[in-house]
Each structure stands twice: as structure tokens, then as C-alpha cells.
């Protein structure tokens, strides 16, 4: 049967057509995506990569909530200029505790993967509250409300850690037990800063 003949059967039978589309479109995913999901080396933590502490995790979730990732990437590409500008290029092992990944697709602002330790906490606080007081022509939004809301306002930090533990992150009972205490008296801006300050530390000795 030639191609056109085969097609005449497909286009006369709705079931065959559905199956044909599903089959043909699934091949790419099965051959390309599935093996990557199960590739060991992509899920091995880098030397110094550890699960987020309670405060950092809250900060990360706020980073997601506020859509910081719509303007900031967290992925330094292995290009000379990029390594000069931001620091060592990103490795897969640094993201193994990232659910979801936050590599980004647009740099309206600079890459943040190696931002940790580059500025003081105070700098970040001032910058987040009013970017234009630090960089006069900045187009980054101001985030005054972060200083007003308590870090444990959502009240579900233990639940979050438990869910992550079920997904395989090595949290101990003590980690979960002590989590609320670690947020005590702090605001959301403290959490975001704690998250920013540990970014890039995961590479450890490999750096």
C-alpha cells in the first residue's frame, strides 16, 4: 500500500486518526524526554548543594509568587562573557532541589544564579524596597509589601517540607519540627534575602 493509500484509511477512520496522531507525536517525547528524566547524572546534587532551609524555601516561594523569574534568569551559560559577568556557569547538579526549576527565559534584569554573597543583606533590603534609590534608572518594580508581611503568614511551612520530603528531599524530623521557629519574627523580605544570599553556593569546591 502506498502512502496515499494508507492515508486514505487514516482519514476515513476517526479511531485510526486519533491513534496515528498520538503515536506519531509521542515518539519524540519517548526517545528524547523520557531518558533525560531518568538520567542519573541530572539528579545528582553538586558538591555543596543541599535542600533549602525553611526560611530560604519561603523566600523561594515568594520569588515565584512575585514573578521575579519573568525578568531574571538563574542560568549562567558556559560562555566567556557570561562567566566574566556573572561567575561560574550553572551545573545540572545545582538544581536538583528546585521544584520547579527557575532557569528563566528572559533577562530584563541580570542573571541571579551567582548573586549570593555579592551584596550585603542591607543592600538587598534597600534595593527590593526601592530599586531606584540604588540604581537610578532601574526598571525593576519596588516590593514594599514584602517588609509588611510575616514570613510565616501562610502558616504551612511544615506541610511544605513534608511534601518535599515525600518527593525525596532529605529533610529530617528535626528540620521539620524546628521550621516554624526559624521563621519567627521575620518578614517576607528577610526570607527573599536569605534565598538570594544562598544562590550559587551549591557548587562548593567545584567552583
Amino acid at each position: 500500500m502506498n502512502g496515499l493509500g494508507l492515508h486514505q484509511r487514516l482519514e476515513r477512520n476517526a479511531g485510526l486518526l486519533i491513534f496515528g496522531i498520538l503515536f506519531v507525536s509521542a515518539i519524540g517525547g519517548l526517545v528524547q524526554v523520557l531518558p533525560s528524566i531518568f538520567q542519573e547524572s541530572l539528579s545528582q546534587p553538586a558538591a555543596n548543594t543541599r535542600p533549602y532551609g525553611a526560611l530560604e524555601l519561603v523566600g523561594r516561594d515568594i520569588y515565584i509568587r512575585e514573578g521575579c523569574g519573568t525578568c531574571h534568569s538563574q542560568q549562567v551559560r558556559p560562555l566567556l562573557a557570561e562567566v566574566k559577568r556573572y561567575g561560574p556557569y550553572s551545573r545540572a547538579g545545582e538544581s536538583v532541589y528546585d521544584r520547579p526549576f527557575l532557569w528563566g527565559s528572559k533577562r530584563t534584569g541580570p542573571d541571579l544564579h551567582r548573586i549570593g554573597g555579592r551584596y550585603t543583606d542591607t543592600w538587598h533590603r534597600v534595593h527590593l524596597l526601592d530599586p531606584r534609590s540604588v540604581v537610578n534608572n532601574s526598571i525593576m518594580p519596588a516590593y514594599p509589601w514584602l517588609a509588611e508581611r510575616a514570613a510565616n503568614a501562610d502558616g504551612d511551612i511544615q506541610l511544605r517540607l513534608k511534601v518535599l520530603r515525600r518527593l525525596g528531599h532529605p529533610y529530617t524530623d528535626a528540620d521539620i519540627e524546628s521550621a516554624p521557629a526559624k521563621l519567627e519574627g521575620l518578614t517576607e523580605i528577610d526570607a527573599v534575602i536569605a534565598y538570594l544570599q544562598q544562590l550559587g553556593a551549591g557548587l562548593g569546591a567545584e567552583q
Binding site: E11, R65, A92, P141, V163
Partner: protein, 480 residues
Amino acid sequence: MNTTATKSNLYYHDRVVTVLVAWSIVWSVLGMAVGLYVAAELVWPQLDFGYPWLSYGRLRPLHTNVVVFGFAVSALMATAFYSVQRTSHVPLFAPALAWFCCIAWQLAIVAGGLSLLAGINASKEYAELEWPFDIAITIVWVCFAIVFFGTIAKRKIQPIYVSNWFYGGLIIVIAMLHIVNSLAMPVTLTKSYSLFAGAPDAIVQWWYGHNAVGFLLTGGFLGMMYYFLPKQAGRPIWSYRLSIVAFWAFTYSYIWAGPHHLHFNAIPDWVQSLGMVMSLILLAPSWATMINGIMTVSGAHAKLKTDPALKFIVLSLAFYGLATFEGPMMAIKSVNIVSHFTDWTIGHVHSGALGWNAMITFGTFYFLVPKLAGRDLYSVKLANIHFWLALAGTMLYILAMWGAGVSQGLLWLSLDEIGELNFSFKDIMGSMAPYYGLRVVAGVLFLSGTLLLAFNLFKTLQGQKVVRVVPPPVAAMEAA
């Protein structure tokens, strides 16, 4: 049986099509207005006035979700329901379910949009809505599939027409992608953690993200093209054989191209290279389809001069050709070094989104709404003005973003003789202001055009007659 039952067996179900078209227009105006606002925030960052829900990071996902899932999907559902009846010569299967799709989808967009404003955000691009919405979307989608394939199953003509393959591809492939990419473990009603982490998560996300573009913004709209272009041009599709080859080549190769969103990122090299090669191959079926469309119109020149609907569709094919040429070029790793992370990507997106998706939808609506209303278009003149506003807006948008993107890309990479960076990030950011300003102007032009469309079609629908289209007699059934 009661009269409604008899009626629903006799007439094409076009009320639900009209309502979906109306919603699509509402979402196009709102979505573009949010896009314009977001564009303005990049020029005047104070525009959020200190309100979290007006903040750029929350409005940008609202923009993409409202235009893609509100505007584009409602338009695709409307045109799929309209054309599947006519190409099958039967009324919709399970019309009540079609109404459910229509209403539930709009509710999901309203609620989903509000949740994005509240900062409830799963963060994966084009899959930002949290898990309860993912489930709702899946349910509506399954119903969409039942109505669509159910109608095909009871069709009265043997061959399934080309447009239906593409709509079918849209329904099946998006279902597969959506379900896999949304897998997550809930924490609360408004928060979940992805089942995948890090690099595998990135690969799955862009397998989804690229193919949402592929099977929704491209494939779905090709279905629209294959039905409405021949209808409007009054000529059959130029080459049936080409449409078959292009369809299967498209369905097969699109799926592989996702990793071009992750060039030089921390994923295996072979995955990137395969993504690049398949993206280049993709040029062939894309252009084959474009040529098929353009050749179908050639010969209908007289109509092209006077009919704004046809003008929109033909122009959309030109932009489709542009975007599907630019895409494979940007997928080449050495080009992607420059384009990735820059506004060049944004320019590419909107040459597809404005030039292709929005224009073909406008053209289709200018043709479809008068038919649904049973009267002539309220004003051909306004539609012609809209055409020029849309064209000018799109061109200005793309040119501004090319300027911004290429200079960003090159300046970020620029090193002096001794290998030090030439420019700080902040200087390069500062030099973007004129381009971002131009984009605001482009947005104003494009949105004003869309407002003209909304007014024009609203006037056309006002005081519409009830149109009942009866399927052709069964004699149309083709022996095979």
C-alpha cells in the same frame, strides 16, 4: 420527543459558536490591554503604584494566559465547533457538552486570571495556573475532545477534512503535554511542588512549552486556516497531497524541538543538538503549509483587494512564514547565543502572536460573525482601518524588539582586547528605553485596531436574525 430535541438534530449548533467568538473578542481586548500595561511598566516602573496585583511579575503571566488560553483557545474552540459540523455535515455531537466547554472554560479563565493576580503561580511558563485549575482544564479538554471526535464519528461524509486533523492534533497533543507537565504534589489548594526537579523539570517544561506553541498557536490555527481560507477565497485547497505530507511531518518533528529553549543550559548536549536539528527540519513542513495557503489564494486576486477578511488571512500567512523562518534560525546554537534571554525572543513571539495568531483570527471573525448574524458586516471601512492599524502595530513591535534584542545580545557578549566586559548590565538596560517606548506605541496601535474590531462585530451581532443552517441532504455522503 420534545421540540428542542428535534431541533438539535436538524440544525447546526451555532449559538455556542457565537458565544465563544464573543468571549474570544473580550479576552483579546483585555489580554492586549494587559500586554500594553506590562509594556508600559517597562518604561515607567512606578505604574504599579505599590499594589502587589499590579506588579509586573504578576501581570505578565496574566497577559500570556489571557491571550493564549482566553483569546486563542476560545477562538479555536469556536472555529473547531463551527467547521467540524460543516465538514462532517452533521450537527454537533452532545451539544450540551459543547455548552459546558464554553462556559466552564470562561469561568476557568476568569478565576485563573484572578488567582494569578493574587500571586498563585506554579511558575512554569504557559502552565502558571495551580493544580486545581490544571484539573479543571483537563476536564474541559476531555469534553472538548468528546464533542469534537463525537461529531466526526457520526459524520455523513467519508473523508475527514484536513482542518479536522489539525484540530484533532491540537486536542490530543495538548492533552498529553498538559497532563505530564502539570504533574505535581499539592501542599494546599493554592500551592504545589512539581513532580520533576531541576534539569529534568526544565526538559519536560520546554517539551510542553514549545509544543503548546506548536500544537495550539501553530497547529490549531492551521486548522482554522485550512477551513476558512478556502471558504473565503472560494477555491479548494491548492494541494491535498502537500497538506498530508506537511501534517504528518509537522506532527512528528515539532515534539523534538523543545530543547532549543535550553541551548547552553545545564542539560545534556545531545538533547540540545537534537532539538536544534529538528527545529531546522521543521522549516520544511511549516513553509509547505504556508505555500499551500498562498497558492490557494492566488487566483482570487479581485477578492483580495476588497475583502478585509481575506486580506487579514493572507497577511497572517506572511507572518507565519516569517516566524517559522526566524524560529529555526534562532534554534541554531550559534545564533541562540545572541538571541537567548533577549527581547529578540519577544519579537519572535509577537511576530507569531500578533502577525499570525491575532491576524488570522481577526480575518476569520470578520468572515464568520456576519454569517452567524445573518447580515452584512457593520462597516467594511472600519475593518480596513483595523487592517492597517494591526499591520503597523505588528511591524513596529517586531522592529523595536529586533533592535532591542540584537543590541542586548551583542552588548552583553562584547569583550575588549584583553577580554574584559565592555559594558555593564545597567548601561545596556538603560539603552533599552527608546525601544521599549516604541513598543508601547506599537501596543496602542494594535489595541486600537482590536477595539475597532470589537465595536464593528458587536454592531454586526446587534439585532441579529436567528440563523438556522441545515446540513446538506444525506445524498452528500460519498461512497468509498
